[in-house]
Each structure stands twice: as structure tokens, then as C-alpha cells.
Symmetry: C2
Subunit: 181 residues, 2 copies
Amino acid sequence: MNREELIVRLREVFEARGFEGATLAKIARASGLSKASLYHHFPDGKRGMGLALLTDAGIRLERSALAPLREGGEPEQRLKDMLLGVESYYGSGERSCLLTVFALGPPNDVFDGLVERRLVEWIDLLANTLQDTGLGKKEARRQARDLVSRIQGAGVLARALHDPKPFRQVLRRITAELGLR
Amino acid sequence: MNREELIVRLREVFEARGFEGATLAKIARASGLSKASLYHHFPDGKRGMGLALLTDAGIRLERSALAPLREGGEPEQRLKDMLLGVESYYGSGERSCLLTVFALGPPNDVFDGLVERRLVEWIDLLANTLQDTGLGKKEARRQARDLVSRIQGAGVLARALHDPKPFRQVLRRITAELGLR
DNA sequence: GTCTATACACCGATAGAC
DNA sequence: GTCTATCGGTGTATAGAC
């Protein structure tokens, strides 16, 4: 069992059940390892797992959605690529964002800081890109916040309704509104 | 200690920590009652508390945000009133929606059904109102889904960033976009 | 209605064999 | 690296006095 595959298995449990809802018994079952073996891979136990998973989610979000915004091409193309990355990151609405799941659990200084930094980074990058399309600085920031809200909300809605379609529809709507055809 | 005041106290714990994170010890501390006394008010224990709180949240959302949509006035006024109700329901971004918090916890047939029904109801009512403004049926439904997404996402964002401002800004933006001035 | 005391299951975590 | 067995603590829930 290598760490990469292990993280994928753990992710499913934490994403679906939240940090508190992910008990070691369920994690062990999902991973095929015993509780004791999990401590070989994560000496800090559940705290370490949560940290590793949240870091992993941040990196995946960065690669899928944030990195495209940093590229040097046309801003319209960057926005388009970001939305494609978001679609992939959310598994087309079938999966939840771990940052969101953790954010709605109990307060935790370590976790909360990681979540907050990624979201701020996302909004900042998005605002810069929107500015490159000709928007004013303030309006770009407002729209960036709004877009991240919509994406997060779409993920929540899909989960709450047990249906990935609302997620895809909202993403399509955003694409259309931004004039990305 | 009457039930109304008790529910308000419990709400704070469940909203901030989620169902799994809300332990009886914390609930007892927050309510000023002992664990045993809580079982006098909620014979079914934590399950009963969660159900009562989720029902309460649904009713508050109904009164604040959904009821205005049912009224007979101008659709623009109904939308305006809904947004005011949403602002109030979310405590201007200082509080989270318990439906969202529960939706992102572990799957639970009872809870999930309640959450789902309220959200579907919200989207339906909103779509009807938007249709009354002259939108086509399909477009009204799409926009209704989008609006609920944005509101939910705004609540998540405000919580994740520990700052109510993004919530208020998104709500203001929606108001402006709908031409409600 | 509220309490103290307690039952008992499950939690995260560890010991130590292989 | 993986396991079985087990620890101490905390979780939900109950008994029974007042």
C-alpha cells in the first residue's frame, strides 16, 4: 500500500463524512488496513491524516483550478481552463471539496488556516485574471468572490440534493455569463 | 428553561461544530443544563436534538426567505423580501445555515431528507417568482438554482474566511443584478 | 425538571509479535 | 509494514434521588 493510493482511499471517507465523522474504524475498513497500520503511515494519527488530506486537496485544487489562472495566455482562456479544472476537481459534481467539508466542521486552528489561505489565493488569482479582461480592480474582486461563492455553493447544492446535475448546470451558466464559448 | 430558549442555545453548538462535533458535554455546557436534563427535553437524545434543530432551521428559513416568495405582490418585491429574509436568516453572514452544516456531515437518511426537501422547495418557489418576472420556465429554473447556489456558497465562504463581509457583498451583488433598487 | 453517579460502547492511540 | 490485543478516555445514554 503506497501513500498515494492510501490518500485516495482516506479521502473518500473524510470527504463523505467530515473529519469528526471519519472514525478510525471506518477509515481502516475503507483502506483495507488495520488501525495500527494506519499509524505506521500517519504517526500523528487522525490529526496527521486530516492535515495530509487537506494539504493534498489544496494541491489538487491548485493544479486543477488555480494554476491555469497563473498562465500567460488570454484571460478568457485562463478562465475557461480554470472552470474545466474546477469541473475535474469536483468530479463533475459527484464529489465534494474537502476544504468546504472541513470548513463546516468544528473550528480547528490548523485546518482553518489552510482552508482560508487557499480560498484567499483563489479569489486573488481570479480577481487578477478578471482585471486582465478589462474590469476595474474593485469590480474584479467582487466578481471573483461571487464566482468562488457560486462554485462552492454549487458543490454544496449537488451534495445536499444527491444529484451532480445542479453543479454542472451552475458551471455551465458561469461559462456562458463570462462569454466563454 | 423553556424549549424555545433551549433550542437557540443548542443551535449555536450544532451550527458551529456540526452534528458529530456537537458532543453532549459541549451541549450541556452551552445550555447550562446537565446531560441528564437534556434527556428530559429530548427523550431521543442527540438524534432528537438534531431533528428538532433541523426542523427549526427549516421553519426559520421558510418564514424568513420562502414565505415572501409566496405572497401575491410584484415579483420584484417578493425577490427583494426574500433577500432581506436570507440576510436575516444568516445573521448578516455571522451565522451558518444548519441545513448546509448537516448536508456536509455524514450521510443520514432522516436529516438528508429534511434538508433536500427544503432546498427543493426554495428553488421551486424562486423559479416561480422568476417566471412571474417574465423569464421562460427553463431559464427561471436555471437562475433559481444559481441564486440558491450563490447564497449557500456565500455562507460557506464567510465561514471559511471567518469574515461576514463576503456574504453581504454577494447578497448586495445579487440584489443589483436582479435590478432590485 | 434538575441533578449526581454510572453504565457501557466506541473513540483514538499504543504495545509488541511476526 | 502489517497484524491482534488492549489501553485509557470520551461518547451517548440511563438510573434514581431530590
